[in-house]
Subunit: 450 residues, 2 copies
Amino acid sequence: MNSNKWDVIVVGAGFAGLKAALELKESGKQVLVLEARDRVGGRCKAGEICGNTIDLGGQWVGPNQHLLLEQARAVQVETYPQYTQGENLLYLNHKLSRYRGDLPRLPILSLLELGLLEQRWKRQIKSLNTHKPWLGKKAQRWDSQSIESWLKSNVFTDATREFVRIITRALLCAEPNQVSYLCLLEYMRQGQGLESLINTRGGAQQDKFVGGAWQIPYRMSQQLNDCIVLNSPVRGITQNDTGVEVSTTEHTYTCQHVIVATPPGLATKIHYAPKLPSQKWGLLQRMPMGAVIKVHVAYEKPFWRSKGLTGAVVSDSHHFNILFDQSPDDESVGLLVGFLDGAHAIEMSAWSEKDRKTQITQDLVDYFGRDAANPIAYVDQDWTQEEWSLGGYVAHMPPGVMSQFGDALREPVGRLHWAGTETAQQWCGYFDGALESGIRAAKEVLQAQQ
Amino acid sequence: MNSNKWDVIVVGAGFAGLKAALELKESGKQVLVLEARDRVGGRCKAGEICGNTIDLGGQWVGPNQHLLLEQARAVQVETYPQYTQGENLLYLNHKLSRYRGDLPRLPILSLLELGLLEQRWKRQIKSLNTHKPWLGKKAQRWDSQSIESWLKSNVFTDATREFVRIITRALLCAEPNQVSYLCLLEYMRQGQGLESLINTRGGAQQDKFVGGAWQIPYRMSQQLNDCIVLNSPVRGITQNDTGVEVSTTEHTYTCQHVIVATPPGLATKIHYAPKLPSQKWGLLQRMPMGAVIKVHVAYEKPFWRSKGLTGAVVSDSHHFNILFDQSPDDESVGLLVGFLDGAHAIEMSAWSEKDRKTQITQDLVDYFGRDAANPIAYVDQDWTQEEWSLGGYVAHMPPGVMSQFGDALREPVGRLHWAGTETAQQWCGYFDGALESGIRAAKEVLQAQQ
């Protein structure tokens, strides 16, 4: 294989890399995909609990994620709706309450403020430059603040502040004092607004994939099977006027163009010759991944359903503070799925799985009562310990990074092109954005090779 | 060498690693130092202009940097004072003015505010917990803000705001919207206050080393010469109950303990087994290096001296905005040394050296007049392109990082110990802090091996 010349080498076999490779293959290019792991899919990963296949990574799809829906159709993976019958639970300020729909019951003043905040966000998002969101005086000011410091001077009721903190953790798996306020605005713009991001019906959690989202990259990879080399972390990329050499520990491959389709932090582990421009290099070092542990808990039955509950919970005070019903339609088992995010994920990553299970069971008893005390199975996936993801769901930008380094996000460097959900222009942080980035990078390369 | 068993392996031969190795060797330990580069010294590096030896990296020493002074004495490197005879130049708000001493002439209101700010900083710094500066409600609030957003709500005159921005860039080589305000306070605490950090006389720029600071690590390394292996980037560190394996591309070495004495970002390039705790791993990914290009410009004579100028300049509007006289005492040549820092460094790293020289010469003409138009030599050192430093002078923490990840900074992980100026408790960011961290890490290992 060493002596082969490829048209394009793609680094990383997540959604972005696989999509780029498929697009290029369809255009008749010779493509090689090098993947560090022993599997494809990146932040999409299969698991199992009580005989049920589950997604240990991303799993939902919203009605406006057209690229993901289209890709799923193309590989014959069907969708079904997230269970939403009944009421959701809200645990706020040490009180448990029920609510319907997507916005929890807050004190009336907070609800008013939240309504105003949503209007304000819509206006701010609309004002963003689509391609360079950091341009403009206001954007510069927003980028100089963390979400937390923005909150302190712009939101005044405790419950609304807490709600925004919960949203930040739920969307970015990072603490609100670590993320640029402009980064949050741009994230909401890309996801078509707050409601589109956080809603179940009509939003990004509306549907799931029958059999699991992990089947999509898996089937995409089958269409590429002779072009993917697993267990091959890329160590070096050397380019000159005539082509590119890509080296792993064991092999060196040559090609015309490379698409780096990894998270930003992983792209810093590659040795580039010549060196990357300092703006690009600096950007890659300034986009840390969020921290998340995805948790599945199984019960004999989805007992919450008979109590008129959807199984969905939001809390401001527990470790296990965002969860959803994940039970199969035949109710052969009761399944809850949820997340430890941000600081909770970092904290509980250091615990034993047993201690995590104990804590999470306690949290579930707080929400659902004694029925939740005896789970029959527990599976968690700690993304903070995944060497080839560095965390999840997505890399964020701390204050000031987008303004100074944003220009370098998608800009090709000679024969190197950049993909990955962090480089998307719609649905950054989602598989949909990853697909978009793969399509865009493939287009760039096709143009360059015309 | 492969089959040897070492007591301790030190990763990185900068000031921190060399000092740790010397301490351990003096205590009778078998030590091996693995260095990625083909030289020792890290962010301390020799250069040459017009036949004069110069420091392309750190070079100054202050009277309170006792460890560095002591180390210099131990290897017989002497100090001499930074030239300060005459007046400094200030280019603020498009106007050039002269001032004496360390504080520039600002408008009277700004000077008043700056005075108040210094008092306020002294109080805030005094209030910091020495070992865990992020503890306490105020510290949490400070950590949730960038320096820029803190400025916006706490400093009201333009000149004082601009002065703080200049200070941030000068100290941390980062833009004020990228750095936690708490990080700045802790940095000032470690450097014994603002004046101690920015002053020449009595401060961190008081003295230079005869022949260059680079001689210090070089001579330290001579005392260790058979224990240092150059050109050996460490790829993997595997520890278990009985010891540690450290592997480079070509060799695997075994030992009892490891001291990782690299900048945080470089420590993320090593594969650890078992994996590092997520808090430590997360921290290493969240401490980007500042960006700096160090510039030397030579003239026939130090013409500014005869005009009553020290050669020192501070500007808020030029690329080359912090500079000092670097001429040899015999005035055989006129030398200016200065920095492109933060955004300027990233921007100008993409320029050709010729374009940088042209721009810098223009800046110097703005400061010194036509006498500055024809330099006889130009040398710059772009630290943003140094693969084994990732930038300079020091890694900083964006908002929210210290609060959540600070605990992991110095905490050993099994048989791994951590050194490097970023882990110092006094003079973080300076060679003095690097030495302190090396001494501390060596102590930890000696205790563990008792």
